[in-house]
Symmetry: C2
Subunit: 189 residues, 2 copies
Amino acid sequence: MRNIQNIELKPCDNPKYVKVNRMHYTQEGIDKTWEIAHVHDSVAILLYHQEHHTFVLVKQFRPAVYLSNGDGFTYELCAGICDKEGASLTQVAREEIHEECGFDVPLDAIEHVTSFYTAVGFAGAKQTLFFATVDESMRVSAGGGVDIEAIEVVELFVDDAHDFIFDETKVKTPGLMFAFEWFLGRDKY
Amino acid sequence: MRNIQNIELKPCDNPKYVKVNRMHYTQEGIDKTWEIAHVHDSVAILLYHQEHHTFVLVKQFRPAVYLSNGDGFTYELCAGICDKEGASLTQVAREEIHEECGFDVPLDAIEHVTSFYTAVGFAGAKQTLFFATVDESMRVSAGGGVDIEAIEVVELFVDDAHDFIFDETKVKTPGLMFAFEWFLGRDKY
């Protein structure tokens, strides 16, 4: 999994995925400009494995994080971008659970939690958070993503989730941290 | 505050702030490339106003979010990028509390909570989360940012924070949502 080699960073004059535009606008009478990277909205799903009493997460190499911290492996919720015309958010969530983590979860078992915006300073995409409970009866594959995606499925004991949030050697997203806290506090709601 | 006019989006062939590079690397023997926007690491501070029993937040127009949802105003934690050589994270946090929210908080009253990585798919910057308690004795200005920053300081009753998290008409970041949950659950820890 850690077999990453031949890393080179090159200028990217004509990006295909991270397209940058400049917004010109007037706020309170003052002319301003702001650079914006266009990115897709996405879904993320907190998966609770009820037989193992674990959260099912994905671990993967993120080139941008490698540049930032020299390691590059992150722990994330199962997630994916919304780039398919006509697919509902819940359908996208269901497909990502299948592709990345290998569980076939019925649509009506995928619970909407809330949504938020990430990288508001320069990108501003919306991520909708879902929750689903899984068990081995729903298992259809080992997961791991499609094509050349190199996604490792990892399970974290729910009882260890709180310590994990504060273990800064583990690279993770704030969406994952919120989702853990939401789950751990569910009894309150 | 909502006085935003003359919005135009133009191509940005030579971005000054959102610079895109392409990483080339080999993973498990497979050659891959990935586009990366270089952004600064940052700090965010959850501010608890103990006399008002509120969280002190900032509300601002975010061009990237405007493109995403047609409104563009976000609720965020007091925050700022780390672009000053030699300044500690806590010093950056202290300056942002001063500039954005108008409180002069002693360095040793700014508590480190944890850290996380945002926009890991294409940017991967680290944000370190701090916490500070403020009161009116620390007030030195009305806040609002520096130069042409148009930041509105808003207070949210702690008792309303939970409902706020699930009110999807309010645009907010997952870091803010995690910080609220962390505060609300502090008694547990």
